[in-house]
């Protein structure tokens, strides 16, 4: 009798618990603050963006820095971040199921990801284009030359879809697409000759080429698969969290525009411009309304610098993966690029 009533209570409690669970869901922001650590979904095999450097055994790259910047803005410390390593296939699930709070993983913005996959994108932080890399010895110059061959790429990526569309539009039929679960396997397959071309974002191709022992063995075709803008993403329908992260990314652009760097941060705090003073949380501040510290922008810039500094650290001239920003969409809008922050007041 006792057992039976216990089971009864258990079932009732479970039923209520399950039914009540969805309604009690709070913002990710509250979870992160309570936990004290930001779970950030990123990769470990894309040099320049999200890469576990085997020489230093440290995570580095633009996406990794964006994770650290977010941790600095939300929790005041860039090291309070836990990297959740994902693949092209698992990245959205990791975020929608709450295993990670935000994802920065060279992720191309396109509609189905916001409509069917149910993530919300943050502002675009890098403008890339899809491309092909082949072995120089094969003599391939255009995509049409690849007919009859095998093209390799990573699974669950925008490239996978872009390839299918490109072949359709160019009426190339006898081409095989072989997909692996990570980019290092794709590059290994290209190197061994299993693949006649590797297809992914051009910057990633450039960094793989740069990291190979003999970069001249590989060439990147002029033709490509089209636009590929990268943005971070968070779970859908959580404005509180999304808006905060949206403005932290804008803040990185704005800091570059104003010339606020890690080095001159203390000087800039004395700026006569009331907007800059408010931006840095010297007088009042904007953090409070976002439910974080008023000094969130100052904390972030102190930790990782502005967008330009982050870019130089990961993709600048001193790195093996140098990609010139000048005259490209990746320059700040004041230099004719597309990186633009709305006004802060």
């Amino acid at each position: 009798m006792r057992l039976r009533s216990t089971i009864g209570y258990f079932c009732t409690a479970l039923a209520f618990g399950l039914a009540a669970a969805p309604t009690a869901r709070a913002s990710v922001l509250d979870d992160v603050k309570q936990r004290g650590v930001l779970n950030c979904a990123t990769g470990d095999a894309i040099p320049g963006f999200s890469y576990l450097n085997p020489k230093t055994s440290k995570m580095e790259g633009l996406d990794v820095d964006l994770c650290r910047a977010t941790a600095a803005a939300v929790l005041g410390d860039p090291d309070k971040v836990h990297f959740v390593i994902v693949t092209g296939k698992s990245r959205f699930n990791t975020v929608t199921t709450g295993q990670a709070d935000v994802g920065f993983f060279s992720t191309t913005v396109y509609p189905v990801r916001e409509s069917a996959i149910a993530v919300d994108f943050l502002p675009i932080n890098f403008y890339d284009a899809g491309g092909f890399m082949v072995k120089a010895s094969t003599g391939v110059e255009t995509v049409k030359d690849l007919a009859g061959g095998t093209i390799c790429t990573t699974q669950g990526t925008a490239t996978e879809v872009a390839l299918a569309n490109l072949f359709k539009s160019q009426n190339i039929t006898d081409i095989k697409v072989l997909t692996f679960d990570s980019a290092d396997k794709v590059f290994a397959a290209l190197g061994s000759g299993r693949c006649n071309a590797m297809a992914t974002d051009k910057t990633a191709l450039a960094s793989w080429r740069g990291s190979s022992p003999k970069p001249d063995d590989y060439i990147i075709l002029r033709e490509g698969t089209g636009k590929s803008p990268f943005a971070g993403f968070v779970v859908a329908n959580d404005s509180k969290w999304r808006n905060l992260l949206r403005w932290t990314v804008f803040g990185l652009f704005q800091a570059e525009e104003w010339g606020i760097t890690t080095a001159n941060l203390d000087e800039m705090k004395k700026s006569p411009d009331p907007v800059i003073r408010k931006f840095l949380g010297v007088e009042g501040g904007m953090g409070e309304d976002f439910h974080v510290s008023n000094s969130f922008m100052a904390d972030m810039i102190k930790a990782v610098g502005n967008y330009g500094e982050m870019y130089d650290r990961s993709l600048g001239p001193k790195t093996p993966y140098y990609i010139d920003r000048t005259g490209t969409p990746n320059a700040s809008w004041v230099n004719g690029g597309l990186l633009y922050s709305p006004p802060w007041e």
Binding site: L18, S115, V161, T179, S192, R194
Partner: protein
């Protein structure tokens, strides 16, 4: 009061048959209640999941299965139904998501069936060798089995793919070695036999007749004169079908821009997973076979020896037939786990069911639905294998009883 009433009721009606009836009803009610509770719980969980998905802005529907997949896979055929028989066609970006899953299932089944066949052959051979009287052979078989069973299958797959198959001569250079067999980095190529274009249904009929008669001619139960007649009719049927335009052409592998194309093509991914699973399962099957042989009564060996049978004859005619009866349940388990093992193909980009389903889920955003579909397919697959094995087991066990 109530107690008194109950006692009264019991004392007046409690004959043994009524007691049994009451017990049976109580038993059924309890069972019914448990089943109802489990079903109710499942419905509650489903509702909660549904509510959770809705609150995240995700709806639940299988309509995406008929939508175009928008991506391509490296190999795989899906059935296209035109009339009563399916035609297997390569899938591409215009195929539906369901078509993609079917192509994945096709690849899974292809590997599973080939692996079941060959791992059994290799495994039985290894198992018999483990009991060889030759020290070297015995211990070599033992070492191979131990090595295979004590290293992770995923690492074995990586080894076969990256360290063996991708180290083969690069495309183009090996093509002229042999016309019959081309082994290079982009795979193994063999000539593919196929029907000539002029073959029609009439010629096909004569081929079937020829096969039937020639097969009958091989049976020893018919008298010699009959068999010669059957052979004659069979040969006539062959002649007739040839006259009607029947023929088998070989589709040869030829040198293309990026190495060999055409013919029967085993991609390196397919070859790697096939080798891995065959070798791995053979290791386990050898253990099952050895156990079966050792479990056999010693008297069987001694009786065979007393009859003057050689060791080879004893194994073939006395031991193995009995061993197979014992080991079928263990083999079934192995076949089921082998079929599920094909899911590691994802590690080397072989488009088997699990791999393709991940891409379908990711590109359509329908993870939950796809997981349900794929789990159902694997479940049905495992049930099918065990049903077949049970059928065989029952047939063999009958003789024994």
């Amino acid at each position: 009061m109530i107690e008194a009433k109950t006692k009264l009721w019991r004392s007046s009606l409690a004959t043994p048959s009524v007691k049994r009836y009451v017990a049976r009803v109580r038993y059924k009610l309890t069972h019914g209640a448990v089943v109802a509770a489990v079903i109710g719980l499942l419905i509650l969980i489903a509702l909660a999941i549904h509510q959770n998905l809705t609150s995240r802005g995700i709806d639940f529907s299988f309509a995406y299965l008929s939508a175009p997949s928008r991506f391509g896979i490296s190999e795989g055929l899906a059935p296209v139904w035109t009339g009563w028989a399916p035609i297997f066609e390569s899938v591409d970006a215009t195929s539906s998501n369901l078509g993609m899953l079917e192509a994945g299932l096709f690849n899974t089944l292809k590997v599973a069936l080939l692996a079941i066949t060959f791992s059994t052959l290799v495994g039985v051979a290894l198992g018999v060798l483990r009991l060889s009287t030759n020290w070297l052979v015995r211990n070599l078989a033992f070492a191979i089995g131990e090595f295979i069973r004590n290293t992770p299958i995923l690492i074995q797959l990586m080894f076969w793919y990256f360290a063996v198959l991708l180290q083969l001569p690069s495309s183009g250079s090996a093509t002229k070695v042999s016309k019959w067999l081309v082994v290079e980095q982009s795979g193994v190529f063999l000539p593919l036999p196929h029907l000539s274009d002029s073959a029609g249904p009439a010629s096909g009929f004569f081929v079937a007749v020829a096969i039937a008669f020639l097969a009958a001619a091989c049976l020893r139960r018919f008298p010699a004169r009959w068999r010669i007649a059957l052979l004659g009719v069979g040969l006539c049927a062959i002649g007739a079908s040839y006259a009607l335009g029947f023929g088998i052409n070989l589709d040869w592998p030829v040198l293309g821009r990026f190495g060999a194309t055409g013919g029967l093509h085993f991609t390196p991914e397919m070859s790697a997973i096939l080798i891995t699973i065959i070798v791995n399962s053979a290791g386990y099957i050898s253990e099952i076979v050895r156990g079966g042989i050792e479990g056999l009564a010693k008297g069987q060996w001694e009786a065979a020896a007393a009859l003057g049978l050689s060791r080879g004859d004893t194994i073939r005619d006395i031991v193995l037939p009995q061993v197979f009866r014992i080991i079928i349940p263990s083999l079934t388990n192995r076949y089921i786990s082998l079929t599920k093992d094909t899911a590691i193909g994802i590690a080397i980009g072989f488009p088997e069911l699990f791999n393709v389903s991940g891409t379908v889920a990711n590109q359509s955003g329908r993870d939950f639905e796809t997981v349900i579909v794929v789990m159902t397919i694997y479940l049905l697959l495992s049930w099918l294998i065990s049903a077949l094995a049970n059928f065989v087991n029952r047939r063999i066990a009958l003789e024994r009883a």
